[in-house]
């Protein structure tokens, strides 16, 4: 995965009239993988997506795309390389083919290639043979998938999805998840918004949490990996060099979520009922409003919240060795 910064947001504000709906002093979104904007309704997710896609101009500040500020000179490139799928998307009056092929027609793609690519895009969202159906007569989930196909057919570098699973059935959610995974695997960048935690955790390589129009620190460790074993007592989840003991449960999980406040830091091993204890080196110490966030490298990154008092008395500084302890029951698997 490339570490190049895809979007940099600098001092961006956006308001509807006098009501400021987004205020982001600084935010970087790295290229590749899946970035999920998570937050409740009205937290500014959609506005941020539309600002990044150049559909809204920021009232203040600037947005850089691949290092260049968005403006008349860079907009054509942004248009070529990115596409956004709305929540509850607008489908044009006419056939599914007419909808999906629209962007290709704008790009003057030859008709034989257009037919092939439309068929491929429809197959990717499980709508093979839907070309001649009337788009507006499809079900909500099918309409959403047509809109995703209409974006996918352009093979964008960056795919923006606004609440892609908000109003679709379980089957459509699975298909959209598969599409997002394939796009990310094909070195594309997917930036999506969701207020659905399970979906957000499963999909996210990186999580950006929004609340009241501001980016807020995420309160959870999002650990990617897979289930290695299960013995009836615990489910063992492998993430990096760590094997986490989680509550026994069946399923194919790819993400373990561990709240920061459930992680205890100690200088030595502690005897307790907590089933997970890992030793690691402090790699980062960041001061927040009232607490301090500590990142430990235990063969996988673990973040914890401590007070200034704990930091001072325990000497929590970068390079120091500490133990991270947390209960199996504190972990949620997705």
């Amino acid at each position: 995965m490339s570490a190049e910064v895809l979007f940099a947001v600098e001092g961006v504000r956006f308001a509807y009239g006098t009501r400021v709906v987004l205020d982001v002093p600084r935010l970087s979104i790295r290229d590749g993988g899946v970035t999920v904007l998570m937050g409740p309704n009205g937290s500014g997710k959609t506005t941020l997506l539309k600002l990044l896609n150049g559909l809204y101009p920021p009232a203040a500040g600037r947005i850089l795309y691949r290092g260049l500020p968005l403006g008349p000179d860079t907009m054509p490139r942004l248009r070529r390389e990115t596409v956004l799928v709305h929540q509850d998307p607008y489908l044009f009056d006419g056939s599914v083919f007419g909808n999906v092929s629209y962007g290709l027609r704008l790009r003057r793609t030859p008709s034989s290639e257009t037919r092939r690519r439309v068929a491929e895009a429809l197959a990717a969202v499980g709508l093979q043979g839907f070309e001649h159906r009337r788009a507006r007569r499809l079900s909500g989930g099918e309409r959403q998938r047509v809109a995703v196909a209409r974006a996918l057919v352009l093979d964008p570098q960056v795919l923006f999805l606004d609440e892609p699973t908000a109003s679709v059935d379980a089957a459509s959610t699975d298909l959209i998840e598969a599409v997002v995974r394939r796009a990310a695997a094909a070195a594309r960048c997917v930036i999506l918004s969701s207020h659905h935690q399970g979906f957000a955790y499963r999909m996210a390589d990186r999580l950006v949490c929004l609340a009241d129009g501001r980016v807020v620190p995420g309160g959870e460790n999002i650990l990617k990996g897979s289930v290695e074993a299960a013995d009836g007592m615990f489910t063992y989840f492998r993430t990096g060099a760590g094997l986490l003991r989680c509550p026994a449960q069946e399923g194919e999980f790819t993400t373990a979520v561990l709240p920061l406040e459930d992680v205890i830091l100690s200088k030595g091993e502690i005897q307790s009922s907590a089933q997970n204890q890992f030793e690691g080196t402090v790699t980062a110490v960041e001061s927040g409003d009232h607490t301090i966030r500590v990142t430990l490298d235990c063969g996988f990154p673990v973040r914890a919240l401590v007070t200034g008092y704990s930091r001072a008395t325990l000497g929590i500084e970068p390079g120091a060795r500490f133990y991270a302890t947390f209960k199996a029951s504190a972990i949620r698997l997705y």
Binding site: K50, N53, L55, R79, R80, T82, V83, L84, H86, P89, Y90, F92, D93, Y102, G103, L106, R107, R150, A151, L154, F160
Partner: protein
């Protein structure tokens, strides 16, 4: 009434050349005027609907007020401009079809613009965003917006047609009701009725209605077929 209907049918089917000419004059004057007005109204309505600018509300209120413009007032105003002594008198278009076109365009321009604006402002806000994110430039956004709003826009255009095809003020004052030249169905009806030829006037009225219905049905049919 039945007599008038019989007279209308007789006039149509006995091939009265003058009636055909008058009907054709009415039809083509109205169609050309509406086409010209629409060509101006569509981009105007589009801009008013999609752009925010100072004085937008006032402009919309003004256009709405102009929708009720009396035809005789328009006729009078244009007359004062294109009569020999008027500032545009040098054009020499008074009592020609061009004068009628000018008056009719002024008559239906605010109506069509206002209705197009109203139709487009009711279109889904996601449409322009969807078009732009898929790569559409400004002219393509305009084309697709018109296409997606075509039913409502057609209604606006037909309202404009209805306004001009049935008006007398402009056609009479600017066209002069000249036989074999600028006589339209409405000016002919006014003339025949004032002469006491009530049945003939009514028959011409029936032909006028038939033309209006035919144009409406044809255009609606075309749009339905496209969908």
């Amino acid at each position: 009434m039945l007599g008038a209907l019989a007279e209308a049918i007789r006039l149509l089917f006995t091939g009265d050349r003058e009636v055909y000419f008058i009907a054709w004059t009415s039809l083509h004057l109205s169609l050309v005027s509406v086409a010209v007005a629409s060509a101006l109204s569509l981009p105007l309505g589009f801009l008013i609907a999609l752009k925010s600018f100072r004085g937008k509300k006032q402009l919309i209120a003004f256009l709405n007020a102009l929708m009720a413009l009396p035809t005789v007032v328009v006729g009078l105003l244009v007359y004062s401009f294109i009569s020999r002594a008027g500032p545009l008198g040098f054009l020499g278009i008074l009592f020609t079809p061009s004068a009628i076109h000018l008056g009719q365009v002024i008559l239906c321009l605010p109506l069509i613009t206002s209705l197009v604006y109203s139709a487009l402002s009711r279109l889904d806000r996601r449409l322009p965003e969807t078009l732009v994110t898929l790569g559409a430039r400004r002219t393509e956004v305009f084309r697709m917006t018109i296409l997606e709003g075509r039913i409502a826009i057609l209604s606006a255009v037909l309202s404009g047609f209805g306004r001009v095809v049935g008006e007398v003020g402009v056609a009479m004052m600017l066209g002069g009701n000249i036989r074999w030249y600028t006589r339209t169905l409405t000016t002919a009806i006014a003339l025949e009725t004032s002469k006491g030829e009530f049945e003939l006037g009514l028959a011409l009225g029936i032909i006028l209605m038939a033309i209006a219905f035919a144009v409406n049905f044809t255009l609606h049919g075309v749009i339905r077929h496209e969908r």
